[in-house]
């Protein structure tokens, strides 16, 4: 059985990015990757196991150490059939060839070859030697042009050189590979050897299934976050005696407010963790100036995400109930909390978002005590900001390739992430969907569920668009 499954040896010279490719393909960021050469010192097998049954095996190999010698040996032995096997047999004892034997062993055992080359560099002698010697192994083979930069001038040259010796040649940026790209690469594996089609198909199917499931999971997490955040309240009961002075009152007010804001932040953090686990990331580098690194309630975030004022107004009007909140807003700070027991007094307006109150403070007086309550969030803009931010986070999680851990973010010729407008995701939705979201938010504020299915579909649509790169992932935010 195991003899029949596709086995793919990922080969190339040291530091060509073999491990990155494997990590990305198998979504495994625990594979050791280092920008120093020679991190991989033995062939590691990374099987794709579906229901306990291996379907494909990717073999991460160490880099070629003696390509010239291997080629010459191959050429000298050109009469033999199983060159790789013969080579391994002849050199196993030679310590200088440990890596070469290690990497040729899978080939000797019948594995197909995926050659990973760095498409950003010009073709060197070593590369040609490797191409030639892999050709001589006579295994089915495919080449991956792993171009981590935006330098494409050598690509055609590479393509020419590779096409002569390989069944197929594909571009692949192991550091940027999105889900869609990954699936396309897997699709290409079918072209290496037709007999593998069913198994590769199955693997792709499983990957897709798995991806959909994770997307659904992420959508659920996002909806839960929105619902929780919109009903979140913080409160504190204080004895009347401690509120004699205005300073004491002020302090309590601040405490409650802080608790409320921290609560919101924690909710977001929790959701982010879930999403991250969901997309299987253990290693994570955040660009230092990312919106995600900023405080949820900061003005920067508020500026960058959410709906525009005009959209918000339109949505508010159309959503009916939402307008209530909008009107409320304009008078926030002057209205009395509805739930006051005895002579409620508004404690002022807290935590501004977009220069509008985030939530109101209610003070309920009961015999000898006062209860300060903040929340739930009141600002109509806030849920959109929160949604945008968590979607942005999801986008990062989905499209952050697992092979990227060692990426040098400061490498001079690293691909500059695409240029884009600084706008949130919600802002680009059609108005009808924005209205649906607004209705959902309004209902959620009251603990009810309205239009949840529509919103689920909307968010799923966004995430799906992100996965297949139809929607820009705003990597610079």
């Amino acid at each position: 059985m195991s003899g029949k499954i596709p086995r793919l040896a990922i080969m190339g010279h040291p530091n060509a990015g073999k491990s990155s490719v494997v990590a990305t393909l198998t979504e495994n960021d625990l594979i050791q990757i280092d920008k120093r050469a020679g991190t991989t010192i033995e062939s590691n097998v990374y099987p794709v196991i579906i229901d306990g049954r291996p379907v494909i095996e990717f073999i991460d190999t160490p880099g070629f150490q003696n390509p010239n010698a291997i080629l010459e040996w191959f050429q000298a032995q050109s009469g033999k059939r199983e060159l790789a096997r013969a080579f391994v047999a002849a050199h196993r004892a030679d310590p200088l060839f440990t890596h070469d034997c290690e990497l040729l062993e899978p080939v000797a055992e019948g594995a197909a070859i995926i050659l990973v080359v760095d498409g950003s560099k010009r073709i060197k002698e070593k590369d040609r030697v490797e191409i030639e010697l892999l050709r001589l192994t006579a295994r089915p083979r495919m080449a991956i042009l792993n171009n981590l930069t935006n330098n494409t001038r050598y690509m055609t040259q590479w393509r020419d050189a590779l096409c002569k010796a390989f069944n197929s040649v594909r571009d692949f940026n192991a550091h940027r590979a999105t889900y869609g790209e990954r699936v396309r690469l897997l699709q290409a594996l079918k072209s290496i050897d037709q007999r593998w089609e069913p198994l590769v198909e199955e693997a792709i199917h499983a990957f897709e299934h798995d991806w959909n499931r994770r997307t659904d999971q992420a959508v659920t997490t996002i909806l839960d976050l929105l619902k929780e955040a919109l009903t979140y309240k913080a409160s504190k009961t204080v004895k009347e005696s401690k509120l004699v002075f205005e300073s004491g009152r002020e302090r309590v007010r601040e405490e409650v407010m802080r608790a409320f804001e921290d609560g919101l932040r924690q909710l977001e953090t929790k959701a982010q963790e879930q999403i991250r686990a969901n997309f299987r990331h253990h290693v994570w580098h955040m660009p230092p100036d990312s919106i995600l690194g900023k405080d949820l309630l900061s003005e920067d975030v508020n500026q960058a995400l959410g709906l525009s004022k005009r959209q918000l107004a339109l949505v508010g009007m159309a959503a009916g109930a939402a307008s209530g909140a909008t009107i409320d807003l304009s008078t926030a700070g002057h209205t009395f909390g509805a739930g006051a027991l005895i002579g409620a007094a508004t404690g002022g307006v807290l935590g501004f978002v977009g220069s509008k109150a985030l939530a109101k403070l209610n003070i309920e007086r009961a015999s000898g005590t006062q209860r300060f309550t903040v929340g739930p969030v009141h600002n109509p803009r806030f849920p959109f900001v929160l949604l945008d931010r968590i979607v942005l986070y999801s986008a990062r999680a989905m499209n952050w390739s697992h092979g990227r851990q060692a990426a040098e973010e400061d490498a001079p010729d690293k691909v500059p992430e695409k240029e884009l407008r600084r706008a949130g995701f919600a802002e680009e939705l059609p108005a009808a969907q924005q209205r649906d979201l607004a209705r959902f938010f309004n209902a959620a504020r009251k603990g009810k569920s309205e239009r949840e299915e529509e919103c689920r579909a909307i968010i799923r649509g966004i995430l799906h668009g992100l996965a297949v790169s139809e929607i820009d992932s705003r990597a610079d935010l």
Partner: protein, 796 residues
Amino acid sequence: MDFRHHPADSTEVHAASDEARDWTVADLIDFEYYLDADERELREHPSARKGLAERDRSLYLEVIAPAIGDQPPHTPAHRRFSLRRWLAARRNAERPEMRGILPGAAFASAERLVTLLLAVLGFIAGIGVASALLSYDGTRPVSVSWYLFLLVIVQFLLVASVATAWALRKARGRGAGAAHGLLMHVVRPLVTKSASWLQRQRIGHAAAEIQDQARARQGLLKSQYALYGPVSYLPLIIPAQIFGVAFNIGVILTTLMLEWFTDLAFGWGSTMNVHPQTIFDVTRLIALPWSWLLGEGIGYPSLEQVAGSRIFLEHWASVTPTLKPDPAHLRSWGSFLVLAVTIYGLLPRLLLWGGSVLARRLILARLPFTHSRTQALYARMLSPRLETTPSGGRPGGERGTEMPIPAASTSRKPRPGGADGPADSAPTTSARPWRNALVRRVEPGEEAPTSAPPPPLTPAPAIPPVVAPPVDAPKAAPAPEPESPAVPAPAPAAPVISEPEPESEAEPFPKSDRQAAGAATPPARPRPVARPEPEPKPEPKSEPKSEPKSEEAPQRPSETQVLPIERPADVATPPAAPKKAQAQPAVSTGSNLKGPDKPPAKMSTQPSAQPQVAETPTSIPKPTPAPVADAPTPRKSAPAQGTRFAPDACLLLLHVDIDDILEDEDRPRLEQMLKHLSGWRVAATATVGAGSAMTEEALGILERGDWQAPPPRVVLIEDGSQPPITESLRFLRELRAAAGARAQIMLALVGDPTDDDRLPPMRPFDYTDWQRKIDQMADPYLRLEMLAPLHEDGDV
């Protein structure tokens, strides 16, 4: 039947029942219970998702899929069946003792218990009511009207009202599942309470170790099964119907018993003046359902009997037997009453009972199981489980080692390619087709190659006239000047050099043969190259190189470029002066190729330009022989006499990767940089890095070289943007072996070339990478340098 012990205590029973294909209410309750448990676990430990997915998927694959046949997934039937199987599997996975404690089992038992209880109660109530109504002390006959009113009319109206309520509800499109006040307030609490009581009882009876575990599950009988609509209240209706049925049976049995075993007198009376005919009509109406079978007098009393059974109280009060009623008339009502209760009491109840049982079955059969929690489970079962983490790795996991560092070698023949000697010559021929291709590609860009092709056709002499002379002239002129001031050393060397050249020419043929035998690679290459047009190329190169380098030239086009550099070295040797005359023509050939390079560089630093010229003449003769055995000749010449290396001159070994991209104008710069770095001039250049043959040649130059100040000086330039590999280190070892233990070897690294700068500084990161490896080689006479100083990086 002791309900406190679940039948499953005797194992198997429950498991067997789980094979059933249909859902029961108890199943739903357990199903919800399991779903709830899973969901709670997920909420508390999000990481449990993987475990759940694994469990459900393997349940599906191992248990469910085989049983389900080839039904396509995502159909309602498939969903129902899979979920039911899943439940069965989950239940069967419980310990037998626990199965009875599952809420579903408790509920089922409770339902049975309550049903039984209600049946008994109903039966007793029936007996009670009937016997109360039928109490006859012999004085006053049993009142038919009361009996009929209570047991037939009231009951019938009750049933009818329930039925209409149902019908109405159906017509209105399913009123909310609440209502049924009586059911909800009496039966449901009853069922719930008894269920939890049963659970407690069973836990109490269970083994101590599972008690704790079980307690956690107590009280899980939630009303979540309201999700399933009517299913939630049907279980309550059915016991109610059972009660009715039992009640009626009790009534009928009691009535029959009393009629059989006691003498009952039935009568009717009314204060109002009711004509017996009316009563008779009513009676007949009531008896309609059965009058066709049991007619007047049997199924219902006749008019005469009706009239005869009328009770006038004064009769009994006065006890005047005058108008003694006919006992037969008084008994005539018996069968009528029994039949009436059966038809109007028992039958509707039976119908309702059957109806609700049927309804329950239908509803259960039509449950779609599409609410979100079920969906999640179903998705888990259908999604292939995907794992990509290596499972344990390979057995010999510990054998991985760092990149091997070759040990110092004393002899120079360890290369594997060489080891398999016999095959050498043939394979080498076809060794690197791209090298040829490369050269050709290079040709257009660089003058050397282009010029090369023509010479071959018409041997060397032809070439010089073409273009060379003019070019040379200017170069030659400047060259001499620098020479004289520049270096005294070169001058002495020159004569020597001149000598070797001629020799080389002379010997070529014989040597070529030897070489072919000795170093298989060189001979092989020339052939492939030569045949088409390439042959010519090597020749011209060989001319300039005349010495060792000529060997390289034939092999690789790339080397041809190198030659120019070599020449400078040669040039350095003074012989140039005497030979100048000859040189000019020769130069012309060379000049075409290399002319541009040399002039700038050499003019400034090296006198060599002229000497080269001098050499060329010697080379000229070669071309002629070349056609025959062209390539070999030059090589042999090399062994015979090495290049002369002045005390401050070195051998430059250039990696082909760098050599390939260097433009002519870069070469002087390279020499400049080397000089700056090491203080050495370049006496000879060779390329390395494209196979053992090339290495062989390069080392040959080194070994045959005439070193003026003994320890040889070698500079090796490598591409530092590539990490070091064993091969690079091995070459260093070979170099060391060839050069001698004390030879000064400098490894200069360049970065990845760019358009502006083909010899850029390397990144410090790469440098440290190399440094580590070089350190590990522990070679005290090996120096690692960056060719271009790092600080320039910033400037660039």
